[in-house]
């Protein structure tokens, strides 16, 4: 019970942190947001009254601290302000974009877990073979390939050369495959790397020697003793690195023209729509902590040691 409260408390702190940091970045950095919003040359077309109205709508006529408290109060009531670019309420824009991003990141997560673990387990049966030794270092380079480039290469091959998947939009269910694959490559190779590392470590553990000296078959030793233990670090990083997927969504959604949080954020930044930028950041933080609460809930099911201390 205490543990649960603590988890929720930590989750709330992360969201508060994302709100505070984005607020500090967006409204404390020198440079007047209003002239930014009106544009260097567009400013002439705006009357002083209009400018003043914009200022007060952004809370710029207040001191820094008042603005912070005011905005935090608004956020607590799920009012994220209005988008300068679209005029609409930020929450409405986010509500429309969120499902698409959740589908994208969760599919990518499933793809990464399945392929990442499968890759590591496949290699682990004969980790010292010639091919396996070469493959073993591959996942370490998974994050070396820029996401935007993976996206374009996948597009080129699967949409333009062989017409399997659509190049953009989210009209069909399978249009999520390429965008998800794009962000699953770096995330999945990280999962493969951690799992493989876990397996190689577990093989050297003394309890594996105990299992061998019981007279078990090598396959039984591997599946019953090595693999279960090696998955622990994997499970614990799945949630922690979910941010990689969310960040990847910015690029993936932009390239594949999907209407999600990521592409919304990209547009907001390009147009310097600060309320919308902050809204997207806080929303991704919320998604991030929910995913982490879920993986935390799963962990004690596989590691009995996590249960007792509560």
């Amino acid at each position: 019970m205490k543990r649960l409260a603590l988890r929720f408390g930590q989750a709330a702190l992360v969201v508060w942190g994302a709100f505070t940091v984005s607020f500090v970045i967006l409204y404390l950095i020198p440079g007047d947001s209003v002239s930014v919003l009106l544009g260097a040359d567009g400013g002439t077309a705006v009357s002083p009254e209009q400018e003043a109205a914009l200022r007060s709508s952004l809370g710029l006529d207040q001191g820094f601290f008042e603005r912070y408290v005011h905005l935090a109060w608004q956020y607590l009531h799920l009012d994220f302000g209005n988008s300068v670019l679209y005029g609409a309420r930020v929450t409405d824009l986010l509500k429309n974009a969120l499902p698409s991003t959740i589908v994208l990141t969760l599919s990518a997560m499933v793809l990464s877990i399945v392929f990442g673990i499968a890759f590591a387990v496949a290699i682990s049966f004969r980790p010292d073979g010639r091919i396996a030794r070469t493959l073993r270092i591959l996942p370490a380079f998974g994050n070396a390939v820029p996401t935007f480039w993976i996206a374009l290469i996948l597009l080129q091959v699967f949409s333009f050369q062989i017409h399997i998947f659509p190049s953009s939009g989210d009209a069909q269910w399978y249009s999520v495959v390429l965008p998800a694959l794009t962000i699953a490559i770096p995330y999945g190779s990280m999962i493969a790397q951690v799992t493989l590392d876990g397996i190689l470590r577990a093989r050297a553990e003394l309890y594996v020697t105990t299992a061998v000296s019981k007279g078990l078959r090598p396959l039984d030793v591997h599946t019953r003793h090595v693999l279960p233990a090696s998955l622990l670090p994997t499970v614990s990083i799945i949630g922690l690195h979910f941010g990689t997927l969310l960040a990847g969504a910015v690029i993936s959604e932009t390239v594949y023209s999907r209407q999600g949080i990521g592409s919304l954020m990209q547009q907001a930044v390009v147009q310097r729509d600060l309320p919308l930028v902050q809204g997207t950041i806080v929303t991704t933080a919320i998604v991030f902590v929910i995913v982490n609460l879920l993986t935390d809930a799963v962990y004690p099911l596989i590691d009995p040691r996590a249960k007792v201390s509560s």
């Binding site: 992360v14 969201v15 942190g17 994302a18 505070t20 940091v21 984005s22 970045i25 967006l26 409204y27 950095i29 440079g31 947001s33 930014v36 270092i137 370490a140 380079f141 994050n143 070396a144 390939v145 820029p146 996401t147 935007f148 480039w149 374009l152 290469i153 597009l155 080129q156 333009f160 941010g243 990689t244 969310l246 960040a247 910015v250 690029i251 932009t254 390239v255 954020m265 990209q266 907001a268 930044v269 390009v270 310097r272 600060l274 930028v277 902050q278 997207t280 950041i281 991704t284 933080a285 991030f288």
Partner: protein
Amino acid sequence: MTTAPSVIVDPIVGLEVGVTPDKRLRPRRTLGARIGLGLCLAIIGVAVLAAAFPGWFTHTDPYKIFYGQHLKPPSWEHPFGTDNLSRDLYSRVVHGAHVSLTASLLALAISFTGGTLLGLVAGSAGGFVDGVIMRVTDLMMSIPSLMMSLAIVAALGFGTINVAIAVGVAGIAAITRLMRSSVLVVARSAYVEAAVLSGVGWPTILRKHVLPNSFAPVAAYIALDFGASIIAISSLSFLGLGVKPPNPEWGALVADGRSFLATAWWLTTIPGLVVTAVVVAANGVFLYFQSSGRSSQ
């Protein structure tokens, strides 16, 4: 066999007369790994040279328009092909190295200077100062670093320098934590305690023991972070926040080629491949030093 070095003991003389350090504990790097390292260093070297002296690699002006050479695939004349404005892509990639790499180095300098200093202060001061610095990094790490860079660019405005600053600042928190934990390991080590017990003052200990020993493990991350900065900067440029056209930059070159994906594959594939090669090389250098660092423990 235990891991202790095997000692030849002469019980009559009373003192261990010779030591045979257990060589099995210190595997030499394999030949393959050393060739790999050489290759990685060569790639990085070429990229850095291209950034510093583009004239060594091409005499073609990256802005020159070759009339009639619109969207031509790679050939002897134009090894990387030409773009939609009939410019030589090879020359643009070579000159793009300058922008991409200087921005990455600037970002790297910002995150490493900030990170190591803050980490050193946090780790060695402890108490309240440590608490404040760590809580601030906690806050900064509640946002994925790409999103943080995006937010900073949104506030600062666009351009290469701003992008580099954004990427650098977003990277400070991670280096701070790395450095702090390294400092803590050293500061709590028995040899620092031994120095304290020898009456050595804290400033001397910090200078002679803590700084050199705690920076070493962090240094390997320079290579990794260099690669990560290149990716982050080209990603932001790709999203249209970096250089203004017609200036060449790797991420921007890929973005420019997007509209011609179906007809001119080289415009996106080649600059992307160059970025990938350099980052893979940087990661390779990191892996080499990290694994050799581990085995020499």
